[in-house]
Amino acid sequence: MNHMIEELAALVGRDNVAADPASLEAYAQDESFVPRLTPWAVARPGSAEEVQRVVAWANETATPLVPVSSGGQHFHGDTVPSTPGAVMLDLRRMDKILRVDRRNRMAVIEPGVTYPQLQAALAAEGMRVTPPLLPRADKSVVASLLERQPTLIPRYNFHLPEPLRSCGVVWGNGETMFTGEAGTGPESLEAQWQAGGVQADPKGPAQTDFFRLLTGAQGTMGVVTWAAVKCELLPAAHEYLFAAAAELDELVDFTYRLDRLRLGDEVLIFNDSYLARLLASRDGVTVDPDALPAWTLVLGLGGREYFAAERVAVQKKDSEVLAGEFGLTLQSSIAGAATADIAAALAGCCKTPWKLAAEGACADVLFVTTLEEAPAFTEIAHIVADGHGYAAEDVGVYIQPQHQGVTHHVEFSLPYDASVAGTREDMSDLSDDLAANLMAAGAYFSRPYGPWAQPVYNRDAAARDALRKIKAIFDPAGIMNPGKLCFGAPVAPRALAEKEA
């Protein structure tokens, strides 16, 4: 066996290294349109120490590392290697929940911890972590938070990385540190807990928000080996209300006002196509797509701790009054779908990625904006789709208010059948075209996956230059997921040749 494989095996254990095609196939491509590229090997560290050893080795050998901590299908291309000779750093063995602290409402988890796993553990303490929309069962909580995936409850989203707090990191240069408040204490979680620290503040240490250099980074700066997350209390009382509309415009002002008044827990908007597919993907759920409203605002009302039911009742009354002011009526159900099914979808996870259920493949274009721009962006999506022969009514739209109503995640989801020859290429073109049109119209691609990176960093050359300087500090050898974002792909030919030997 190649001696480099031996070296890796020595670092993480022979059973935790693989280089056979079958093991590598899952990493070679994903649901996005990034070019397929099979990694050279996969290493599965079981601890931060092992991660550090692998990173050090990768520096010595100029080996690209691609961190991944979720299982199953991936969607954004960030975990598909961009350079040959890459080693997948699969963190799923690091799946311990290190601490659950009800009093301070904090949990500390390793990157391999999934949503179902964490939510079950937290539920035992009457808590949960605010989830994103229907994550797949093997979705890593840490990965989701690091990628700033939007969560469902805008009023808890005091800034976009919430509920991510302090982290432990192995930087691309092999050095370790803790970020946030944890960075001001000893480099030992146990010692910090002993002293009463709970890793709650994500800021710092000192003048740098180190954790923000890791968010949205697609694994290009370092590897997070543990993360502290803020938990919410499970509501003791909860119900859903819905506002149906024929046009997205009708929901905009009301949504703004809900966000401003911090009314409700879940606040999100679907179009019929998106909601239909979301629900249809779930076992035992019946949905009538044609009966669904063109647009649905989902408003969850939760009550926690004292007088929980009354809390819900007061919010319900306030919401209904408010809706009336905007010419809307809140209902406890919508045509075409059962409330219980919607509730379950928002509370749970899916075994397999739900977006693939309809047609087998799905192209997603996602960005952030201010809400009043969303209707115009939706119009652009329809026009571009139409121009590529894709039915506008099949474009799924999901809008998630974030940052208490200041930022809104907008996601266009286009299912398609990849088994039909040429379709994938067509959809790739459509996706590129759609992204280009949206960018030109002011959509902010804050998470520039795959082909979006180049136009984003062309526009914002100052950010590109700054990020390259930052990258040169934390990953001077450029081994962390090279080729992503605005970072090049240095690979020493000698090392590559050795790997292929």
């Binding site: 009093r103 301070n104 005091f158 800034h159 976009l160 990385p161 540190m177 408040e181 000893p186 480099e187 002293a195 009463g196 709970v198 709650a200 503040d201 710092g204 240490p205 000192a206 003048q207 740098t208 928000d209 180190f210 250099l213 968010t215 949205g216 980074a217 703004y256 401003r260 008044l261 009314l263 701790e305 004292y306 007088f307 009354e310 007061v314 919010q315 306030d318 201010t370 009043e372 208490q404 109503g405 200041v406 930022t407 002011g442 959509a443 902010y444 804050s446 998470r447 520039p448 990176a453 526009r459 914002d460 100052a462 950010a463 990020l467 300087k469 930052i470 040169a472 500090i473 974002l485």
Partner: protein, 568 residues
């Protein structure tokens, strides 16, 4: 009045010990901003060197930090850029300040020729986007001004603990930004959106969505957030470039949209909107104090949450605040008030107390919040302090906490104030240092060289991070900066506080940051190297090398030299 303890000197001697810049550099500055917007008049320079807390850290307890080589008033981002580029060319330091309150606003080292940038000409509110709840401001917009403009729109903003006289840009981009509103409204770290940053090289970096030309609304990205190197727990305090604009996220305002303050100064009053409640709450002991904070967090009630009035000292707070609310009284009346049996009883009642403003979006909502608060009080054994919840004191509390325009009361006793302790953590953890902090102040004030107002003179936000979970209590230690012995006692207190905290295995507090201003580089490096994870400061050195190759920024952006480890 004490005899002057200033070391005798002459203008020539002072000038000889103060850095100068070449005449052609000065001429170039005049060309950039206009001759009327730059000065190197010695007295003018001294008004920038003179700073609160300087006397605690400077040689001979001088009240002056280092004198700038020139003071410059830029009027635009382009002018700032030109000044910074000039500084690079001539090897000068650049030290911007907003309103300039804190000894690190001024130049730090006598050996550095520093251009002090006073940002007061850049004072515009650039934009208020009501629907998207953000405002864009230049550095000399203070929180009071923006709040006044947005309250009629039903919006509010987080005002940091220093008060509404502070620069929003400075707080959000270059310092800390937490205060009584942070629990509900977010701190300025969470609220800052796009920033416009003139780097120490004179490049312009616009963070988040701003850099992509998509507006101000998003601070993150693209990809990793560049803003991550702009500020962390603290910002660069003027030591890494100049922030010329930023956007901040606003918050809902649930009170009256007409700001009609009543009352006779100094105790203005703001009538309390029907959907607001303004309470001073007391608990029987510190265990109950921690309990009630956790319950407030978990029940998600509270709009403004702060332990404010205790800053006057637990022994004297009742007497002080009632004196303050009587326009005909002065500090001379405090002893008599403090001896009044009713005030004595009130003092005891207020011993462990704090302030909480509730805001409801509707009548039903506020009534329910009241009900929740009553249930919490019942459970922890707390109660509403009747006298402070009476209309006069409640309306005073309302205006005080909503506008935060009385923060200069920090200095009321003797003109000097140190904030010591204020280690930040969970209520359970903070509870652990309170007795030591109180005993320490009691001990240090026993000799009469500090104001004796009771050992507990602590103030702090209900939570310095949004949603709850982290608080801190800061001792308000009052000394007379005109009195050498009192000033020296203040320094000793800071040193004692560091030691007292270490003795109970707590890290040092705010006083540690203050003391460092007067240290040598080596002393600071030693302290940084002894941090539990000094690698943060090595990374900051690398960030500085990358963005400030000519060392235009000063050591308020702290770094460790390459290879420097503890014990050297």
């Amino acid at each position: 009045m004490s005899p002057s303890y200033a070391k005798p000197t002459t203008p020539a001697e002072t000038a000889a010990h103060s850095p100068q810049i070449p005449d052609d550099a000065y001429q170039a500055l005049e060309d950039i901003v206009g001759a009327e917007n730059v000065s190197r008049d010695a007295a003018v320079l001294d008004t920038y060197a003179f700073q609160w807390l300087a006397e605690l850290v400077r040689p001979d307890q001088s009240h002056y930090m280092a004198r700038p080589a020139a003071v410059v008033l830029p009027g635009s981002t382009e002018e700032v850029q030109a000044i910074v580029r000039l500084a690079n060319k001539y090897g000068l330091k650049v030290k911007p300040h907003g309103t300039g309150w804190y000894h690190w606003s001024g130049p730090i080292k006598d050996s550095d020729a520093t251009l002090q940038l006073d940002m007061r000409r850049m004072n515009a509110i650039v934009e208020i986007d009501e629907q998207n709840m953000y405002a864009v401001v230049e550095p000399y917009v203070i929180a009071a001004q923006l709040q006044a403009e947005i309250l009629p729109l039903g919006l509010n903003l987080n005002i940091p603990g220093v008060g509404c006289s502070s620069s929003i840009v400075a707080s959000a981009c270059a310092y800390h930004g937490a205060g009584p509103d942070t629990y509900y409204m977010g701190g300025n770290a969470e609220n800052v959106l796009g920033m416009e940053w003139v780097t120490p090289e004179g490049e312009i970096v616009r963070t988040g969505s701003l850099g992509s030309g998509d507006g101000w609304f998003c601070s993150e990205g693209p990809g990793p957030s560049v803003r991550g190197i702009c500020r962390g727990t603290l910002g660069s305090r003027g030591g890494l470039g100049v922030y010329t604009r930023c956007a901040v996220k606003l918050a809902p305002h649930f009170g009256q949209t007409e700001w009609n303050v009543e009352g006779t100064l100094p105790a203005y009053r703001l009538p309390i909107h029907e959907n607001l409640r303004v309470y001073t709450l007391a608990v029987p002991d510190w265990d109950a104090w921690a309990e009630i904070y956790y319950r407030i967090y978990d029940n998600e009630i509270g709009y403004i949450f702060h332990r404010q009035f205790n800053l006057a000292g637990a022994d004297l707070a009742a007497a002080f605040w009632l004196m303050y609310n009587d326009a005909s009284k002065t500090l001379s009346d405090v002893p008599e008030l403090a001896a009044d049996p009713e005030i004595i009883a009130l003092t005891e009642e207020l011993r462990i107390s704090f302030q909480l403003i509730l805001a409801g979006r509707s009548n039903d909502d506020i009534e329910l919040q009241d009900k929740i608060l009553d249930a919490i009080l019942e459970e922890v054994g707390g109660h509403k302090v009747e006298r402070f919840c009476e209309r006069d004191m409640a309306e005073f509390t309302n205006v005080y906490l909503q506008r935060l325009g009385h923060k200069h009361i920090n200095f009321v006793w003797a003109g000097g104030y140190i904030g010591s302790w204020m280690q930040f953590g969970t209520p359970d953890w903070v509870k652990g240092y309170i007795p030591t902090a109180a005993a320490g102040l009691e001990r240090d004030a026993a000799g009469g060289k500090l104001v004796q107002c009771g050992g507990d003179a602590m103030m702090g936000s209900g939570s310095g991070i949004p949603l709850g979970g982290a608080t801190g209590l800061e001792q308000f230690v009052s000394y007379d900066p005109d009195d050498y012995d009192s000033t020296v006692a203040g320094i000793k207190h800071m040193e004692d506080a560091v030691g007292d905290a270490a003795a109970i295995s707590y890290p040092p507090g705010k006083e540690f940051l203050y003391l460092q201003i007067g240290w040598t580089d080596e002393q600071i490096w030693d302290a940084l190297a002894h941090a539990k994870q000094p690698q943060a400061f090595h990374y900051q050195r690398k960030i500085k090398e990358a963005f400030d190759p000519n060392n235009v920024g000063d050591r308020m952006y702290p770094t460790l030299p390459e290879g420097y480890t503890a014990g050297e």
